[in-house]
């Protein structure tokens, strides 16, 4: 299970893209887009930045640490 939740599905639907179309744009498989949307796969840093570049938004607009990770980040800070 992913430790980082995301808004990829919402963003993709706002842009009227199918999973396959987005996958083709990012040169990954449709299964990978589906797994990210279902929080079952943490993408690589490269793919995270590709997504941010494609949707022209900061990474934080797509990916959000879940509550447990936010707690550990604030503990580090």
């Amino acid at each position: 299970m992913s430790t980082v939740e995301n808004s990829l599905k919402e963003l993709r639907e706002q842009h009227s893209l199918t999973q396959r179309a987005l996958a083709d744009q990012l040169e990954v498989t449709r299964q990978t887009i589906n797994a990210i949307e279902r929080n079952r796969y943490d993408p690589s840093a490269e793919l995270i930045f590709k997504l941010a570049h494609f949707f022209e938004c900061p990474v934080e607009d797509i990916f959000h640490p879940d509550t447990g990770l936010e707690t550990s980040i604030s503990e580090v800070e």
Binding site: V28, S44, L47
Partner: protein, 131 residues
């Protein structure tokens, strides 16, 4: 040359099918005493896997497949490691007590596992030096 374009999902299925059929053919024909037929069938299946990857314009495999493969490899090593940590010392003790006799097949498995972990250890050292 005409390309039969398939969806990436179709290519993934074709690739998986070719790998499974190739492995089964190699094992099956070898068991029934036709190893050359088995190797030929396996070779054809491997060619089919390579050709299948050319049948789509989109990537059929990506970073997620690599991650899955790495996790599967890691779990396989763990299972073999745990099994060999218990099984082979036990068999060696049994052999020392004349309760077990090493056969060619059991020696081959023990040697295979030893080579597997020597290879793993070598890669740990090499990759560790690079990073």
């Amino acid at each position: 040359m005409t390309h039969l374009l398939l969806s990436p999902t179709g290519v993934r299925r074709l690739f998986g099918l070719a790998v499974v059929l190739g492995g089964l053919a190699l094992a099956g024909f070898t068991v029934v005493g036709r190893p050359l037929v088995g190797v030929s069938a396996y070779g054809l299946a491997m060619i089919a896997t390579a050709v299948s990857l050319l049948q789509t314009d989109s990537p059929a495999f990506d970073e997620r497949d690599e991650t899955i493969s790495k996790e599967a490899a890691s779990r396989t090593l763990t299972v073999f490691g745990l099994a060999s940590a218990v099984v082979f010392p036990t068999l060696t003790v049994a052999w020392g007590l004349d309760l077990f006799e090493w056969q060619p097949w059991s020696s081959a498995i023990a040697l295979f596992v030893a080579v597997l972990f020597l290879t793993y250890g070598a890669f740990v050292v090499v990759i560790g030096h690079r990073r």
